[in-house]
């Protein structure tokens, strides 16, 4: 694809601006800002990746992955605002999920520890874990709020805070994992995922692209499960005192 066709394809954004204007959605400004951010960020990342791939350094690769985790943690923490230390909990959970999955992939020989492989794979699993752990903490917050009476019933019967939160933990973890599981069910039929589309556009044989997509699906599921589980277990404690009292 040459630069001219890219510039022309950017005119497609005008359609969304027109619809927003016509329907008085009032999001024209956000579309413009979003588009500009996308261009700037992607260009920037393109050059950084170019440099990191070229340098082929373990240190740079890890630094890039850590940066992605922190940005993801920061973003997802907004969904859990009000929970003390939620940024740390989410960041730790995403890091934990990503670390286990990446280690497994490398041990299994599915990918190699090369920036070209580690960075895009990390991006996908971290992005997915960001969305799902954000969902988990926001649901946890809602459930604690709406189920105070239920939680106090458990506590009054001599349950500790963990036992009293058992049910809402289950709900919150499930909420975080559901989109990933649901999308797994329709994969290939309703949606050709971005990664696979990219490979096919880049000239990779669809059969080969599918193999990668399967791996991506599995790794996203594991990372999401680990991240949601961890963040729920870390966060619920913030709703209780050490004397098992609901705050």
């Amino acid at each position: 694809m040459n630069v001219l066709s890219l510039v022309m394809s950017s005119s497609l954004v005008l359609i969304s601006i027109f619809i927003s204007y016509y329907q008085k959605l009032g999001v024209e400004k956000e579309i413009v800002i979003g588009s500009i951010r996308a261009i700037v960020q992607l260009t920037f990342v393109g050059y950084i990746l170019h440099y990191i791939f070229y340098a082929n350094s373990i240190l740079f690769t890890l630094a890039m992955v850590i940066a992605m985790i922190i940005v993801a943690g920061n973003n997802a923490a907004k969904r859990g605002s009000g929970i003390p230390h939620v940024f740390y909990f989410i960041t730790i959970s995403i890091a934990f999920g990503a670390a286990i999955t990446l280690t497994a992939l490398i041990l299994f020989g599915s990918i190699h520890f090369r920036p070209q492989e580690v960075i895009p794979v990390s991006g996908m699993i971290i992005g997915n874990a960001m969305v799902s752990s954000g969902l988990t903490v926001s649901r946890l917050k809602d459930e604690v709020k709406s189920r105070r009476h239920e939680i106090e019933t458990y506590l009054a019967l001599g349950a500790n805070s963990r036992q009293a939160s058992q049910k809402i933990l289950k709900i919150a973890i499930k909420t975080g994992m559901m989109p990933t599981i649901d999308s797994m069910k329709t994969l290939g039929i309703v949606q050709l995922p971005g990664m696979m589309t990219g490979l096919i556009l880049g000239g990779v044989d669809p059969v080969n692209a599918v193999k990668y997509q399967m791996m991506v699906t599995f790794m996203m599921t594991s990372t999401t499960a680990i991240a949601c589980f961890t963040v729920a277990l870390l966060s619920y404690t913030q709703f209780f005192t050490k004397n098992h009292q609901l705050i």
């Binding site: 009476h149 239920e150 106090e152 019933t153 506590l155 009054a156 019967l157 001599g158 349950a159 500790n160 036992q163 004397n243 098992h244 009292q245 609901l246």
Partner: protein, 242 residues
């Protein structure tokens, strides 16, 4: 356990004073009824006893020992609590009654015994909680608390969602339980007649303060405080004097 003692107890939520300067004693083996306008702080008061919350001022002693020095989980088992709208756990009646003993590792709970304590036969054991009437659900929630073998029961308006017949059943039941098991009952009610019927002692809380407490008969026949008199005669609401 013989006595619960409140010494200058207060509870603040941020800057809101919910309870203030509460000093009193509760002797074991009696029924205490708590009355007072909506929002007076009655529920807050009893939550202090099983430490769902802690006082921000003063202290509460059980047998001269600060309740903070008891193991909190054991304390909550000794002091059962029943709410106006019982929250029953999904599943069967049996699951509910077994919950308290189960979490402390005891698996051989005699469910039929606790059912009989609340006047229900053993056919209830396998009933799904969704199929119970309000009165039955309340009785199950009492049985569930009893399975922890408490010495104190805190009742937060246990009959205000029930019809007169079910209310009568619960009243008779609680009095019988108190006698049979030598329980101490602390019973919040909005129903003045109920407070008179079931109480040995009555506590009147208004606007976060303990206004008056004493022997139930004397309390109602000869209230000492003007506010108490107004409240008993239905002339005192949260908004003030009518």
């Amino acid at each position: 356990m013989k006595k619960i003692k409140f010494i200058d107890v207060g509870f603040k939520d941020h800057d809101d004073v919910i309870l203030k300067d509460i000093s009193m004693e509760i002797s074991f083996g009696y029924i205490y009824t708590i009355i007072g306008p909506s929002g007076a702080g009655k529920s807050t008061f009893i939550k202090l006893i099983n430490r769902l919350i802690d006082p921000t001022e003063g202290k509460i002693l059980i047998d001269e020992k600060n309740i903070k020095d008891y193991d909190i989980i054991k304390l909550r088992r000794r002091i059962g609590m029943v709410f106006q709208q019982p929250y029953l756990f999904e599943g069967t009646v049996e699951d509910n009654i077994k919950y308290g003993p189960m979490i402390r590792g005891q698996r051989d709970t005699n469910v039929d015994y606790y059912l009989s304590m609340v006047g229900l036969d053993k056919s209830y054991r396998t009933r799904k909680v969704d199929d119970l009437s309000g009165g039955e659900a309340q009785r199950i929630s009492i049985a569930r608390s009893l399975a922890n073998e408490p010495t104190v029961l805190l009742l937060d308006e246990p009959t205000s969602a029930l019809d007169p017949a079910s209310t009568q059943v619960i009243e008779d039941l609680v009095i019988e339980l108190k006698n049979k098991l030598n329980l101490t009952i602390i019973w919040i009610t909005h129903n003045m007649e109920q407070a008179k019927r079931v109480g040995d002692f009555t506590i009147f809380i208004n606007n976060g303060r303990l206004i008056e407490y004493g022997n139930t008969k004397a309390f109602f026949s000869n209230p000492k405080n003007d506010l108490t008199r107004l409240f008993i005669n239905g002339k005192l609401t949260k908004e003030g004097i009518e």
